[in-house]
């Protein structure tokens, strides 16, 4: 005969938290973190103490103008590049070896050479063909550093975006094409209404990375006389030799890039909410 107790166990306190020992890793981690915090506090103090300085009074407006130029450049070339990437990606997938070869060469060239060299090639190199451009009435375009920069950035990002697009479209299951064909949809409609929306979900993350890379890459246009954020910084530094010019630029770039990254994460979360299970 078994003996069953009617008493329940009295509530027990939670087991004591395990003592975390001060291992070498933990000490190193705390030291490094302390170093960052001290450096960050120092930076904040430095920036705050300079808000009333002559430098800040003279140049804060210029910095804001610079950010606007940077964002305009990146926005314009991202949109134009997206438009251009579609035919490039289609040509890349073409069965005609000539067409796909040209598209492949285009993508390979713009992904294999530095953006700075491409910008120089277009801005300075266009001078070689000045008579030709004058004849066809395009010299005003290639004479201007701003148009050249937008053009170079557009061609560059179009090559990267074409690869993103191609990868994303290939990632869509073949059954989607077959199902659409079974429903009697034409290829074009299938692409726009069935495949592309699904591909875009996959492409969101790479597009976000490309956007951040473009913002960072856009700093080089300061070398072709455009006063974007970096250009304004260089101008301010060359006039004052005050190193805070670069500190402000670093802070502003970090803010812009981090804000965009966070924003993009939010957008991605929102657009993929139908795919989450919970």
């Amino acid at each position: 005969m078994s003996w069953v107790s009617n008493e329940t166990l009295a509530p027990q306190p939670a087991p004591p938290a395990r003592q975390r020992r001060w291992t070498g890793t933990r000490i190193a981690g705390h030291l490094l973190m302390a170093l960052w915090i001290v450096a960050g506090a120092n930076l904040l103090y430095y920036l705050a103490s300079n808000v009333l300085s002559d430098f800040f009074r003279d140049y804060w407006q210029k910095y804001l103008d610079g950010i606007v130029i940077t964002l305009q450049l990146v926005g314009l070339s991202m949109v134009a590049g997206a438009a251009l990437s579609l035919p490039v990606a289609l040509a890349r997938a073409s069965r005609n070896p000539f067409i796909s070869g040209i598209a492949y060469a285009y993508v390979y060239f713009f992904r294999g050479t530095p953006l700075l060299a491409q910008t120089f090639l277009i801005y300075y190199g266009a001078g070689t063909f000045r008579p030709f451009f004058s004849d066809i009435g395009l010299w005003w375009f290639f004479r201007d550093a701003w148009y050249c920069a937008v053009f170079a950035f557009t061609l560059n990002t179009a090559a990267y975006q074409a690869e993103i697009l191609r990868g994303a479209v290939q990632n869509v299951d073949k059954g989607q094409w077959e199902a659409a064909a079974a429903l009697g949809l034409r290829k074009g409609i299938t692409f726009w209404k069935v495949v592309l929306p699904q591909a875009m979900i996959v492409a969101l993350r790479p597009y976000g990375n490309e956007l951040v890379l473009m913002i960072k890459g856009s700093a080089i246009v300061s070398l072709v006389t455009i006063f974007d954020l970096m250009g304004e910084t260089r101008r301010a530094y060359s006039r004052t030799f005050d190193f805070q010019a670069y500190i402000w630029a670093a802070v502003l770039y970090l803010i812009v890039v981090e804000a965009l990254r966070r924003l993009w994460d939010e957008i991605e979360l929102r657009l993929t909410r139908h795919l989450r299970r919970n």
């Binding site: 291992t23 890793t25 933990r26 190193a28 981690g29 705390h30 490094l32 973190m33 170093l35 960052w36 390979y108 060239f109 294999g112 050479t113 530095p114 953006l115 700075l116 060299a117 491409q118 120089f120 090639l121 300075y124 190199g125 266009a126 001078g127 070689t128 063909f129 913002i215 960072k216 890459g217 856009s218 700093a219 080089i220 300061s222 070398l223 970096m230 910084t233 260089r234 530094y237 190193f243 670069y246 630029a249 670093a250 770039y253 970090l254 890039v257 981090e258």
Partner: protein, 237 residues
């Protein structure tokens, strides 16, 4: 056509030897930054992979900074900031002393910092691809933590991280072009000088682009050979 050939020829009339010297600087800068970037990136990946939260966040702050700053700005910060810092330090010992920062060293430091922050992500995702059992197997054999890391984990880690690191190498090679902005005589700077002197910008900048393209083609070929070499132990598929 003949004129163009004269311009790119080697010798006193042509720019071939200057350009070749520039290529050498570009390649050696990339090669010199690589080991520092790899080691630093590996250490940061170790920190990010550790169980200690404070170490993880310290490493994350590092990558956030160097992945968020434009490479050109990092370069200027290192070049001008390093110069100022070294001058301050030198003045403590000798009054009125000035130190000049070598643009090659500045480029190397800046490129290594950027490379390491990206490489740490590559190593980290490789770490995630290695199962816990590999560590446990190593400990069960009586290997110390560092021996397990060196003999068991690292060989697999390199194999897993290699494709991403290869991409980073190609990016590094292209980023060296930025040092022309701080006056280092690399390929792009020589191309720019030649373009200004000869008034043939398209020829020289186009040529520079083609040389960069050739460098990345050679690198890709080399990288794919290394990749097959690391996979020689795997069963052929």
């Amino acid at each position: 056509m003949n004129e163009a050939l004269t311009l790119i020829a080697f010798g006193p009339d042509g720019w071939g030897d200057e350009i070749a010297r520039g290529v050498l600087v570009t390649v050696s800068l990339a090669l010199a930054s690589l080991p520092f970037g790899l080691v630093l990136g590996f250490l940061i990946a170790l920190a990010k992979n550790s169980g200690e939260p404070s170490l993880r966040s310290a490493a994350n702050v590092y990558t956030t900074i160097f992945r968020g700053l434009p490479e050109l700005l990092t370069l200027f910060l290192v070049y001008y900031g390093g110069q100022m810092l070294l001058n301050e330090i030198a003045r403590v010992f000798v009054t009125g002393a000035t130190v000049d920062v070598n643009s090659f060293i500045a480029g190397m430091v800046a490129l290594s910092l950027v490379f390491s922050s990206y490489a740490s992500e590559a190593f980290l995702s490789a770490f995630r691809g290695i199962r816990q059992g590999q560590y446990e197997g190593g400990y069960a054999l009586g290997l110390s933590r560092s021996l397990t890391m060196r003999l068991v984990i690292l060989p697999q880690l390199i194999r897993l991280a290699l494709p991403a690191l290869g991409n980073l190498w190609l990016i590094l090679l292209k980023e060296t072009a930025l040092v022309s902005a701080i006056g280092l005589d690399d390929l792009l700077r020589w191309a720019g000088i030649a373009a200004r002197v000869t008034k043939e910008p398209f020829l020289f900048f186009g040529g520079a682009c083609l040389i960069y393209l050739a460098l990345s083609m050679i690198s890709s070929a080399g990288l794919s050979r290394i990749e097959t070499w690391t996979r020689r132990g795997e069963a052929p598929r």
